[in-house]
Subunit: 173 residues, 2 copies
Amino acid sequence: MIDGLERFVNWYGRPVTASPRRLEDPPGAAFLLAALGAHAAARFAERIAALDLTPPQTGLLRAIAATPGQSQQALAQLLGTPASRLVGLVDSLADRGLVERRRNPADRRLHALHLTADGEALAERIEAVGREHDDAILGSLEDEERARLRALLARIAEDQGLTPGVHPGYRRL
Amino acid sequence: MIDGLERFVNWYGRPVTASPRRLEDPPGAAFLLAALGAHAAARFAERIAALDLTPPQTGLLRAIAATPGQSQQALAQLLGTPASRLVGLVDSLADRGLVERRRNPADRRLHALHLTADGEALAERIEAVGREHDDAILGSLEDEERARLRALLARIAEDQGLTPGVHPGYRRL
DNA sequence: TATTGTTATACTCTATAACTATA
DNA sequence: TATAGTTATAGAGTATAACAATA
């Protein structure tokens, strides 16, 4: 406090003399988190667009890579989305020969999802793109800072009950 | 490295023995940032829905509160959205008596935007909701950790060229 | 002719619910 | 009757482009 003036800190950690409601005095760190998260998501979407993939397609492909053989219902539950939404997404990947539906002979209602060889190869490309993306977003941080940030975010994610590896955007807004 | 096995760290910072592509081994911290950001945005949307506001309405109201008297074009530029989109948003706030368009007598094409008394009051409610939201998302962190997280996020936001106080969701995806 | 604000249109994404095929 | 998957429909949100008023 100087001269009775309250002091604030703007987005960038710089002290700012108090004045009624400035755009640089945001509601809080959670807003910063939301803004930065949207930015990161948009930049990632641009990168994977070069692979002709949308973010939901990418997430589904990763989920199938991680847990092959699951039914569409099971995947829908994991991702937190209606099963009807998966149909189109799986179609779009299957049409390109990245994913295949294997009917279960014992219960012909079930479609087990697997990656094809092309799908596996693309999954590895996605991982590489993810690393590039990570460097582009967090490049201004030292390795140690990056690790600290990751640890803090991980704590929050666990506390908030997020499913590891799943973007909550599959759920409503 | 133990026994030639690479070691990974999952979302929650726990070491994980290497195995081919697990959902718990995410592409990187930027993904965690995007996921957590979407979560925070969704939780905030729920809170302000109680004030009968959508996130874009809230952001616009905050922007007008911070820089009153601006034209819609100027605000569109600040928020990074087409001016045509502002029309409906301003309408929705003006119909509720939260915002008013004041014609400029010198140049009757211009509409200067201002908050009404009700709008000012709501802006303060929004700030309070923002603080509650912040506590709900970051409640598991100590004060010092929270400050450190904020500082790291602020560094990234500045490095990435985000406009302080503006959610990039006004821009495309 | 240029600019502010507005309207019209079309497109994308998504959830809900109805439908089919299998059980 | 119940479940997996699919299709149909409808709604929200948004960008693009045409338009009207004013300069």
